[in-house]
Each structure stands twice: as C-alpha cells, then as structure tokens.
Amino acid sequence: MTRLAARRFAVLTALLSLAASPSLAEAVLGAGMVYDEASGPSLAASAQGAVETIGSRLALRLEGEGEASVALPAPLGAAPFDPSASGAEAFGLVELSYTAGSLNCLGAASGGLSLEEGAVSYSAGLRGRVAVQALELSASLSPRLGFDSSAQGGLELGLLGECSFLAADLVLKPRLDLSAFDFRDGSRAFRAMPGLALSWYPLVPLSISFEAGYRREWTAEGAATSGIPLSLSLFASPLDKVFLRAGAEALAPLPSGALSDAAAYLELSFALAGRAGRELRLPLRLSYDGDAEARYSLYAGLELSFD
C-alpha cells in the first residue's frame, strides 16, 4: 500500500469511527440469461456490495459493483453469433453526507471501467449536493463533474438546482439543469433543461414518478436544437412478495414532436424465499431500446441478497 493510499484509508477509517451507528452492509449476487433481439442470447452475472454507516450527522457509504456477460451462439442460428457482444463493467462509489439541522451536504466520487465491443473505456465523476430543508419544502444545488473516455463520451460539467415541496400525496420538484460538454471528438455543447418532476405516494403500495421539461442545446458552432424530454416510472407491490417496476423515457424534438431516443423496461420480480437479512428473488425483465435501432431484450435470473 502506498503512502497516499494508506493516508486515504486512515481518513476513511476515521470518518467511519465518527459516525454513531455501526456499519450496515449489503451484498447482491445475480445470475441470469439475457436474450437480445439483435445480438442473441448471453449469460450475465453481477455482484454488488455496499457498506454504510449512518450517524446522527455524518453518513458514509462505499459501494462497488461488477457485471459481466458472455455471448452465446443462438439456437438454430436465430441470430448471428457475435462474440464481441460479451462485455464487462465495474463501478465504485464513495459518498459522504453531513446533516446539521436543516442543512444537508453530500459529496460523492465514483469511477468505472467498461469493456464493450472489445474496447476498454473508463469513467470518473465527482458530484455534490447542498440542500436546505424546511418543514415540507427543500431546495438544493447539485454540481457535478464527469468524464467518460468512450468514443461518444467526454467531459461534462453540470449544475442542478431543484426545489421540492409536498402537496397532498405528491412531491413536486421544479428544477433547472445546466450542463457544458467537451466531447472527445472535439465538439462542444451547452445544454439548459428546465423541468418539473413529481412523485406520487398514495396510501397503497404503489408509487409513480413523472418528469417533463424543455431541453435546449447549443453547439460551439452556433447551432441550436430543442426538445421535450419525458420520463415515467412506476413501482408497486400488487401482491405479497411480488414487485413490479416499469419505466419509460423519450425525447420529443421540436418542432416535429415525434418521439425519439425512447427506452422502456418492465420488471416483475418474485421474492421466492427470505429469512432475516437474506432474500432470493426471481426477476423477469423486458427492455426496449430505441436509441439507434429498435431492439428488445429479455432477462430472467436469480438474485440472492444479504443485508
């Protein structure tokens, strides 16, 4: 261990010891089969782990996850075998938050590695949030800085300003998101996105979130585009040990208004067995990605979680 790494470890240990409650840990192991309309079947495995400590003022969370998929030949040649469809991803995150009265501050650093279509790329990010909470009203500012080394990626600097207040069963969140991009292909862009998000929490095991806004993007060359981003997500527990979540998002470019960049998923999961701190789940997920060309994929697997 280098001196710098040792110092970082000592700082994290000291922060952990500052928190009042003991550490909480969770881990999820998953394995399953994916059938993608374009690339055929593949085996997927994932592992996630997190440890956190939540004190009266200070909270620290460390999270890591890894995912790998291996492409398989399609039975009866239903789809062309494409070994480059195999891939892997790893991601790590450190979050530190501090709460004092109505003030809440959060700082996070993350990093990831990705192997996709035979190419390795990495990403790194820093983000923060300063929030002030009144009884049923809060306001926050969240700056972020991110870098993605993939061909389509680049450097992003952003700032999200958001208010949040409760009205009946709704949490309403007017927001303004500003971003500046310096892409790896040399182009630059600036984006402004005012919007309104709302979450509905009725008295039944169901919750819905909806977000709509206006997106205006300028390139360094002076060109401007605009559109209306929309997203909807739903979470429910229709029966004991049965969980449903679904989400959809799309962009309606102006002035045409025709939906583009659409993506959606529907996931039904069943808690097959569970004892204190352990649970075995069977998730079934249907995904649609209309980004470049429309493609569907189906995932069925098993997830074992320890908490």
């Binding site: 709460t99 949490v171 009725p202 095991p205 919750s207 527990s237 998923y265 789940r281 997920r285 908490d307």
Partner: protein
Amino acid sequence: MSLLRARLLLVPLLLAAASLAAGQGTRDWFERDPEAAAYAGIRSGVEALSLRAQGEGLPESLLLRRLVEGAAKRAEPERLLLALSEETERLVALKKALGGRGLLPRDPAKAEGILAEGSVILRAGVGLPLLLSAVDASQSGGAGPDASAARAYAALGAAISVNARFPLGEAAFRALALALAGSSLPEGRFGAFVAVFARGRASGLAADRIAEVSVAVLDAGGSLDRVEKELERRMRKP
C-alpha cells in the same frame, strides 16, 4: 410477528368500529337485543366485567362495543367472555398509563375515543410499552398532551400497515414507529410510507434497510422528499 400480521388486516375495520358511539349499557343489551339470547350463559360474567370497568372509571360503552361486535360475528359465548375479559384488562392498563401521564382529555367522548383506538392498536399486537414510547416520542417531537396519543396511534398504525405488506424485524418496526411519531411530518403524511416501501422493495431494497434509511432521515428532521432521495441513491438500477 406472524400473529401480529394476521391481526393487522382487521385494524381499519376495528378502528371504524371503535369510533361508533354507544349509548346503552351491557344490561340493556342483554334485555333488549334479540342476539343476546345466545349469550345468556355468560351474562353474569359480562356484567361483572362491566362493573370492574366502571369501577376503574372506564365508560361502559367501550366494553359494550366489543360485546356487540362479538355477537354480530356469532362468536362462541365462552370465547367472547374471554375476549371481553382481555379487553377490560387492556383498557384498564391503558387508562392508567395514559391517565397517569395526564394524556387523557377531560372531554369524556374524546377520552373514550383515545382509549378505544388505543385498544385497537394493542389488539393488533403492539405492546403497551411500545405504545407509550410512541406517545413519549410524539411529545418529544412537539405534540401537545391532547394530541400526543392520537399522533402515536397514527405512527403505529402506519408502521402496522407497512409491516402487513412488507414484514419488518421487531427492531425496525419499533424504530420506524418511533421515528414517525417524533418526526416533523404531519400525521397525514404517515400513510405515504406504504408507497415509499413499495418503491424501495420493487427496486431491490430490503424492508429493514428502507426502514433504517427512513428512520435516519426522519430523526434528522427530514421530510418525505429526503427519504425519496436517500432511497434513490441506494436503489438497484434495472
């Protein structure tokens, strides 16, 4: 907690029954109600319980309500007598505990309502010590003497509803109820936690973990939107 869960589904029904006003006594009921004939064998036992309740300063209508409920369900007489006996002891203990803390309103109708609803919470499997801790938490959170019992019941009722669909460990159940009671949230927001738990569970979080995060936010003075943000950070991506 399985016995507790089995009883939870009855809570809304029992709360509704508890709010019914009853103007007659058990003696009147035995003499006038056609359903009373089947219960003639336990009449002396019921009247003895009624006398004990009145001796402790409890309104007779509280016991009568359970008697009418039991008869409507055609409960076996001996089982009904046992249930009434347990109800009497519950109400006596509750009245002493709340009255001793000066938390029973002077208005007899309001006091009767507090006792009846408290009895429903206790019958749902919540122990008197936890109920009293929730009352203390309500007061610590700023509820006045007249409002603290009702706020504690609302917090316990919300935790019971969550636990009925998303079973919690004993410690998490207790922590959630106390955090709600002592929080800055208005009581009307407590019911939203069933939806909060549905969101977290559908996203792969364990029920106890959702409770821990919610408790941490509520204890720090946070509101529903902070709970949402904290859970979103931990949800598994689809």
